[in-house]
């Protein structure tokens, strides 16, 4: 592993793909990243989870060598970000395509920028764009463009793949295909660093989740470990009149409603469901959904806020 550094995890020294320490980045008077620490081991999938404006993209751009940090240190595959570019695949959040070039030409262009020649057909097939070699990028749908950008992130056979919100704007099927691709890249032994504000995405893909808010890391660990750290909080959602006074039921950790949609959090679901049946009657329990704790609950517990956009994923991870 050329140039890879080692990190002392406290138990054993693991080779490190990304080592960020005390990162600071300001935009004028606004501090976007405030002393952020992030370590990604080789072969690991790490999801940086946080709301919009948390500093996720800025952190990634510093790691990609696109922005200079105002403070802290950044090493990528044992090198400076600029020197590591040849070994890193990047999918940016926005645009980045020449409208007048075809998919194959776009891949060829960027591959050449990395000093390699790439076979566009199989690469496009890999990201679900089989047969679109000759299609101009301006004629691709939003989801197809996003997948072509992911193909660009792979065209240099990278050791480290950085994906910035890779499934934002994708339909459920495309999202699942992208998740499957990430899993295969992981199975290949590639290191993957991605950002997302989708809870399910982080839970489904990441070995480790780094939760970021206001430019700093507020928690990190495996998805299961983070959730377990909360205890056994269960969320019961149901439809009931806003005036039903369900927030006065016993055993609630937290309660609230948006119109007639209630969201009740408790440590034990059984007694709460029994109490709800008593209060509303058996026929009054409508659209009941019982969920175990998620990373959303972790974020809520740490910040008192929900992750913006994190609850609009229409399907849950398999």
């Amino acid at each position: 592993m050329p140039g890879a550094a080692l990190c002392d995890t406290g138990e054993v020294s693991a080779p490190v793909a990304v080592a960020v320490a005390g990162l600071v980045k300001d935009y004028g008077s606004v501090r976007a990243v405030d002393g952020l620490d992030l370590t990604v081991a080789l072969g690991e999938v790490v999801a940086v989870l946080g709301p919009n404006g948390a500093g996720k993209t800025t952190t990634l751009e510093v790691i990609e060598g696109l922005r200079r940090p105002d403070g802290g240190t950044v090493r990528v595959l044992g090198e400076s970000p600029a020197r590591a570019r040849r070994r890193v695949g990047v999918q940016l959040q926005e645009g980045a395509l020449y409208a007048d070039l075809s998919c194959a030409e776009t891949l060829g262009y960027f591959a050449r920028c990395y000093g390699v020649e790439a076979e566009p057909g199989p690469l496009l097939e890999l990201v679900g764009l089989a047969g679109l070699d000759e299609r101009r990028t301006e004629r691709l749908s939003g989801g197809q463009k996003r997948r072509l950008q992911i193909a660009l992130a792979l065209c240099n056979n990278p050791e480290l793949v950085i994906l910035d919100e890779p499934t934002t704007g994708l339909d459920p099927l495309s999202r699942r295909q992208t998740w499957e691709l990430v899993r295969r890249l992981h199975a290949d032994g590639r290191t993957i660093l991605l950002t997302t504000h989708y809870i399910e995405e982080a839970e489904a893909l990441a070995d480790r989740v780094v939760i970021v808010d206001r430019g700093t890391v507020i928690d990190e660990g495996s998805p299961a470990g983070l959730v377990q750290g909360l205890g056994t909080v269960v969320t019961v959602s149901l439809t009931a009149p806003a005036a039903a006074g369900l927030d006065r039921l016993p055993g609630l950790v937290q309660a609230g409603h948006d119109g007639d949609r209630w969201r009740l959090r408790t440590k034990e679901a059984g007694p709460l469901l029994a109490a709800l049946t008593d209060r509303l009657g058996p026929s009054g329990l409508r659209d009941v959904l019982v969920q175990g704790p998620t990373l959303e609950d972790v974020f809520l517990a740490r910040t008192g806020r929900r992750i913006e956009g994190g609850d609009d994923v229409p399907d849950r991870a398999a």
């Binding site: 976007a32 800025t58 926005e94 020449y98 050449r112 000093g115 390699v116 020649e117 890999l126 295969r184």
Partner: protein, 390 residues
């Protein structure tokens, strides 16, 4: 097709087998990127319309409007002088007729000839050719004299074997009563207009083309994506510049080719000087384009700044009419416009048969402005969309 890597993890990919190191190093990279940039230019109809079709229509329409007749040139002198002048003056624009000296003067006075050249039988010295002009055609006489000077130089070369700087003697005759208006303007105008339109085409391709393309790429995030690769930025930009220069070559070939085929417009005696001046002008204006891209906050701003920069020059830099006919304040204004120097230089080489040295001031001003623009562009160039931060 299976995407499982041979011998690899069953859930893995085979990306490693889909890529191989590129050969050829930096030169091959440069040429490949330039070729892709050319593809982008070729597929962009707006670029082709505004950089080739519009200037071509300018030449065809304006040339057609003023190409109503071939000007009569009355020549009084030995038969050989007549033959030389017939070959020296574009046939589509000038009809050369041999008369006696007195008849030639009368022809100019009554308007049946636009100009008369009275050539004495030579005695081994530079020929004291007399150019007879009509005093009524005051606005046209400057260009008439220039044509006559070029013709006289050819005469000297043919008759004496050398080309001494013989300045013809200019004489004017009063317009005869009831004389019809006769002008060389129509015929000279296309020769005057073509270098100007060519200058403007190269100018807009450089300034607006580079500015809009760069800002568009920047705002789309394409420049940032390129920045995330290890490609040397110098090679990336040089490839864009080369593609832009190829567009300029196409402009030159198409515009001058059509102007020559339709109106017999010549490119002057020094095509390599013309090529060099065009190259310097194109690079200068590309630098201005990159400069505008650097200071503009978006595509609309780049378009506005580009138009504010270019449109006044279209009208004041002497593209459509000689700047010498403008009020003095307008002439002073045009002196700060880079397009004027490019236009004047091209016109000097093409229409007046001058050497590169004779238009040296134009060359130096263009080169100097280009270097200044390049330095400022280097300081203002941005890869990131304006306001991109998260």
């Amino acid at each position: 097709m299976s995407l499982v890597a041979p011998g690899g993890h069953p859930g893995g990919t085979r990306i490693a087998s889909l890529t191989r190191p590129a050969r050829g190093g930096a030169p091959a990279l440069f040429l490949r990127l330039a070729r892709m940039n050319l593809v982008i230019i070729r597929r962009n109809r707006q670029i082709l319309v505004f950089n080739i079709l519009v200037p071509l229509l300018m030449i065809l329409i304006f040339g057609g409007l003023f190409q109503s007749h071939a000007a009569e040139v009355a020549v009084a002198g030995p038969p050989r002088a007549l033959a030389v002048l017939r070959s020296a003056l574009p046939r589509r624009s000038f009809r050369v007729e041999r008369l006696t000296a007195a008849a030639a003067r009368r022809a100019v006075a009554d308007g049946s000839a636009a100009v008369a050249l009275i050539v004495p039988t030579h005695g081994g010295r530079p020929l004291p050719v007399t150019v007879v002009e009509n005093a009524a055609n005051v606005t046209d006489n400057g260009s008439r004299t220039a044509v006559a000077e070029a013709a006289v130089a050819r005469l000297n070369q043919a008759l004496l074997g050398t080309a001494p700087a013989a300045v013809p003697v200019v004489a004017t005759v009063a317009a005869a009563g009831g004389a019809r208006s006769t002008t060389l303007a129509g015929n000279d105008y296309i020769q005057f207009l073509t270098p100007g339109v060519l200058a403007y085409a190269v100018f807009t391709a450089g300034v607006l083309g580079a500015a809009l393309r760069t800002v568009s790429d920047r705002e789309r995030g394409t420049l940032r994506r390129v920045r995330a690769t290890p490609v040397p930025i110098g090679i990336f930009l040089a490839a864009q510049i080369l593609a832009q220069l190829v567009l300029v070559v196409v402009q030159v070939v198409v515009l001058l080719g059509v102007a020559r085929a339709v109106y017999g417009v010549g490119i002057g005696p020094q095509p390599w000087s013309l090529a060099l001046l065009t190259l310097i002008g194109a690079l200068c204006f590309l630098a201005f384009g990159f400069l505008i891209a650097g200071v503009a906050r978006g595509e609309q701003a780049a378009l506005t700044i580009g138009n504010l920069f270019s449109l006044p020059q279209l009208f004041v830099a002497g593209i459509f009419f000689p700047i010498s006919q403008s009020p003095s304040w307008l002439q002073a204004l045009s002196a700060v416009m880079p397009l004027r120097y490019f236009s004047d230089g091209l016109r000097g080489l093409m229409a007046e048969g001058q050497s590169l040295g004779a238009v040296g001031v134009d060359v130096l001003v263009l080169a100097g402005l280009g270097i200044v623009a390049l330095v400022v562009a280097g300081r203002t160039f941005r890869f990131d969309p304006v306001g991109a931060s998260r």
